[in-house]
């Protein structure tokens, strides 16, 4: 498809603006005045609509395809949530910060407070801030809180410990806060090697970051022991909530020793992924860390009204321009409100059931490096297929031709040729059965006709793309501006 810039015709006009009802002002001084209009496309509204409608048709998505992208919880995004978020579209965040402005923002503030309350209970923490803008942002915020905690206590900390199965954002977030990273290998039983962990732990460790269930989809039964060890060094336990979908109502991170958590509202709480974002990454903390939470904080006053609290000297400060990804939060709030206690429990139960079913049905055909009951996702390896020269990526591309978005591949890094499948609870058995059938076929084709897999995909607008060329040429902007 042509680029929108290639469709541009000089003088063509799209959306029109209101005519001016004020006099034309004197021009800005020459050095400040833009010398040349920005080279935006000149297209009609129909050009725009047809272009982007047709572009959209070049995507796989949850609403069109089964999308078992592991670690991403690509569940169905209920349409009613979109409508709910739209109700808050016209409200300016600055209003709440004006003198007297809280009165004009009670609905928004009530939502923020209500969501934080829900998440507090779901996770078993003392308080939640909804400011962080995505999971990784939550991680960074959480580690900043931990740093503030140690600073306030005069602790001298240098390291953050992560298992080697951890998501890349974990070490990256800790590094953003100035920590060095200690990586602990995974033991053959699929959890962080407890002995090596003990060796890694010193008083210089600020925090231990864990995902639980971890990125192999396994729940670590020794989590409390790990927490105890960490706490004995006054290291805090950080919980990466990306996989919370597995355990709602079953386990609360706060109950098992975690001090700081982040959640991914765009995973567990049914908000759409937007082709890469926006997400939302609220952070919950135990009592000891509450003083350090970002400002502004939303509080409920004695008269029941909601207020914005800004002057908090111990706070790490502001981590986002206003209150976070508010529209995303509205959807998550509505989701929790709609599902309620029983609904959320059902979500986790069915997510785990679906993943175990997937694992049981496929383990005959693909290697399962950690062959034990999984939680909400399961991680296979294409190492058996590799003997025929077929990689995980080839299986993935074959799935595309069959109408499935591939699972996550090559993550977690500790599994060779990883294929990480997270069906989520919103998919039905027959959708999974059809997918399983195609996965089995892929395994058969891998043996009989590996070339067929190397050639895939053939049904998309493009075949496999030359990533090396892209990285070498760095064509990241069209034409001359």
């Amino acid at each position: 498809m042509e680029l929108i810039y290639e469709k541009s015709r000089p003088g063509r006009q799209g959306v029109t603006l209101p005519a001016s009802d004020v006099p034309r002002a004197a021009d800005l001084p020459g050095n400040i005045l833009r010398s040349e209009k920005a080279g935006l496309p000149e297209v009609s509204e129909l050009d725009v609509v047809r272009h982007f409608t047709n572009l959209s048709r070049r995507n796989f998505s949850v609403d069109t395809n089964f999308y078992p992208l592991g670690s991403c919880t690509m569940k169905y995004n209920a349409k009613v949530l979109e409508n709910a978020a739209g109700m808050f579209a016209p409200f300016h965040p600055m209003t709440a910060l004006l003198p007297g402005g809280e009165a004009h923002s009670q609905g928004s503030l009530a939502m923020l407070h209500g969501l934080a309350g829900y998440l507090t209970e779901i996770t078993g923490m003392a308080e939640v801030t909804c400011q962080p803008l995505a999971g990784a942002h939550g991680e960074m915020t959480g580690i900043m809180l931990i740093a503030a905690y140690h600073r306030a206590k005069g602790n001298r900390k240098k390291y953050v410990v992560v298992p080697d199965s951890s998501h890349g954002t974990n070490p990256a977030s800790a590094a953003m806060v100035g920590y060095e990273i200690i990586t602990v290998p995974t033991a053959p039983y699929g959890d962080m090697d407890i002995e090596l962990f003990k060796q890694a732990m010193t008083d210089e460790v600020a925090a231990v970051m864990m995902t639980c269930p971890n990125t192999l989809g396994l729940f670590n039964p020794h989590i409390r022991e790990i927490a105890d060890i960490a706490h004995s060094h006054d290291a805090l336990m950080y919980y990466d909530g990306a996989n919370l979908n597995a355990i709602m109502g079953k386990v609360r991170p706060g109950d098992v020793g975690f001090d700081v958590i982040h959640l991914n509202l765009h995973k567990t709480f049914g908000t759409p992924h937007g082709g890469g974002g926006p997400g939302s990454g609220p952070v919950g903390v135990k009592e000891a860390l509450v003083p350090f939470l970002p400002t502004p904080r939303i509080v409920r006053k004695d008269d029941g009204r909601f207020a914005v609290e800004t002057g908090n000297p111990a706070s790490i400060g502001r981590t986002a321009s206003f209150f976070g990804n508010f529209g995303v939060m509205v959807k998550a709030f509505a989701y929790i409100t709609m599902l309620g206690r029983e609904g959320l429990i059902q979500v986790s139960e069915q997510a785990v059931l679906n993943a175990n079913y997937m694992m049981s049905r496929l383990k005959e055909y693909y290697d399962l490096p950690y062959d034990t009951a999984c939680m909400h996702e399961c991680v296979f390896s294409a190492s058996r297929q590799l003997k025929h020269g077929v990689h995980a990526i080839d299986v993935a591309k074959y799935l595309i031709d069959r109408g499935y978005h591939p699972p996550t591949v090559y993550f977690p890094l500790i599994v060779k040729e990883a294929i990480m499948i997270e069906p989520t609870e919103t998919e039905s058995k027959e959708t999974m059965d059809a997918f399983i059938q195609v996965m089995i076929e892929a395994a058969q084709v891998a043996e009989k006709d590996p070339e067929a897999l190397h050639a895939a995909p053939l049904t998309m607008p493009v075949s496999r793309l030359d990533e090396t060329k892209a990285a070498r040429e760095q064509n990241v902007c069209f034409g001359r501006w």
């Binding site: 082709g275 029983e342 059931l353 998309m460």
Partner: protein, 448 residues
């Protein structure tokens, strides 16, 4: 039934699945979790149906009241949003997809983001852009960190004309990294030229400015860029994108890194988010950019296609050595920005900026004539300007709010000594009548 959980499987199917797994019950699947670790509480209300939820959410939104006439900005702006944006971004293929890891089945998102990057480059006059960051404030913090990386230095100079919220974010980000932050005090609501020389030194990684600045003043930073470059520092400029329809681009002024908040480009106010942050720089710094970047390439048949590129900068490859920890970004908001820019187009976007400028100039003149009120800015302004009132701005703003007008942002809280000052924003959505009414009401509040 009441609450929905969107779980489709029937009891029969659940039975079949359990049989295939070899488990006796769903609960059995949770047996890896020892009893001692089980949830101590899970005290949430019962669910409700979609219809009840909608009613409930409507009531909540209504608690915000009828809404006020916005003369406030401060980073978020009340601009028109072409109707097509909602319709296009409501396409499920866009909003229910995720990061385009698998390019063959994600060309829609990839091409759109490539077009977005191009739009940002063209707006800012820079050579490369990433595919979005979270928001304007975090983008500025990322830019500061990028400048530290590029220069290998550990000090930044930040102009006090930079949005105080954004400055606070920068401070929060840098706090644990042993970086010195020097705050350059404003001079007549503009970047302090006399003082800059004493702030810039060989340890300085970046001079961080904003255009228009928080007081609304528009500046030409060419001289600052030159001075920074002489010292081996970068010029980081945060810009309000709508102003770029009229105001010289930061690229043309010599900026090395440009950031900004994209809310004003087709994203609703939505009580502060989601929006997107943009970041653009020159080719030579591309490998230091945070976040996703889309690159053009070809497929096996030589057809053009787009992929995530230079991923070796990113956390999923580089882990703690990545240029940033960012993973999910704000794609859909960036897409809104792109569609906004394409819908208005070259001429329309310039016209939009002009409308904002003309209306604000009108408002500046009218409000400046209110008894006892003076305009603080000596420099030109775009669509925001600072007024000095004859009394504390807080009380005045509160009273005008009761009259249904968010008259501006009082400066006292962030700028000690400016308690009487107020930043007023006027976008194309404000009519002459509304501006006149604000002037009249202001006069009334001040003098009766």
């Amino acid at each position: 039934m009441s609450g929905a959980s969107y779980c489709p499987n029937t009891p029969e199917e659940i039975g079949e699945m359990l049989a295939a797994i070899g488990a006796g019950s769903v609960e059995e699947l949770f047996s890896p979790i020892p009893a001692a670790l089980r949830a101590q509480s899970f005290d949430l209300p019962a669910g409700m149906s979609e219809f009840e939820l909608t009613e409930r959410m409507k009531k909540l939104a209504e608690q915000n009241g009828a809404g006020v006439t916005n003369f406030i900005g401060g980073g978020f702006y009340d601009h028109v949003i072409p109707a097509a944006i909602d319709h296009l971004c409501g396409r499920a293929e866009f909003y229910t997809a995720y990061t385009p890891y698998q390019p063959e089945c994600s060309q829609g998102t990839l091409q759109a983001l490539f077009e977005y990057q191009t739009a940002i480059c063209r707006l800012t006059g820079m050579e490369v852009s990433n595919a979005s960051l979270y928001d304007g404030g975090t983008a500025l913090a990322e830019a500061a960190m990028m400048a530290l990386r590029v220069t290998g230095r550990n000090r930044v100079v930040i102009d006090s004309g930079v949005n105080p919220f954004h400055r606070e974010i920068v401070a929060t980000y840098l706090r644990n990294l042993g970086v010195e932050i020097a705050l350059l005090p404003a001079h007549e609501a503009t970047t302090n030229r006399p003082a800059i020389a004493s702030f810039l030194d060989e340890r300085t990684a970046a001079v961080i400015v904003q255009n228009p600045n928080f007081f609304g003043s528009v500046d030409d930073f060419t001289d600052l860029a030159d001075e920074a470059h002489v010292k081996g520092a970068l010029l980081v400029a945060s810009v309000y994108p709508v102003s770029l329809g009229l105001v010289q681009s930061p690229g043309a002024m010599g900026a090395d890194i440009v950031t900004g908040d994209g809310q004003s480009l087709g994203n609703p106010l939505s009580f502060g988010g989601p929006t997107f942050g943009f970041i653009a720089t020159t080719k030579k710094y591309i490998r230091n950019l945070p976040g996703r970047i889309i690159g053009e390439t070809v497929d096996r048949e030589g057809r053009r296609g787009f992929v995530l590129t230079l991923q070796a900068r990113e956390q999923h490859i580089k882990r703690h050595k990545a240029t940033s920890n960012i993973c999910s970004n704000q794609s859909l908001c960036a897409l809104r920005g792109l569609i906004f820019l394409a819908s208005l187009g070259k001429e329309g976007f310039a016209e939009l900026a002009r409308l904002n400028y003309d209306k604000a100039e009108y408002a500046k003149a009218v409000l400046g004539k209110v008894k006892g009120v003076t305009v603080v800015n000596r420099a030109p302004t775009f669509n925001e300007f600072t007024l000095a009132l004859p009394q504390a701005a807080d009380a005045v703003v509160a009273r005008l709010l009761d009259a249904g007008m968010a008259a501006g942002v009082p400066l006292g809280a962030c700028y000690p000594g400016m308690e009487n000052c107020l930043v007023v924003t006027v976008t194309e959505k404000r009519s002459r009548q509304e501006i006149d009414r604000l002037a009249a009401k202001l006069e009334e509040v001040l003098w009766s």
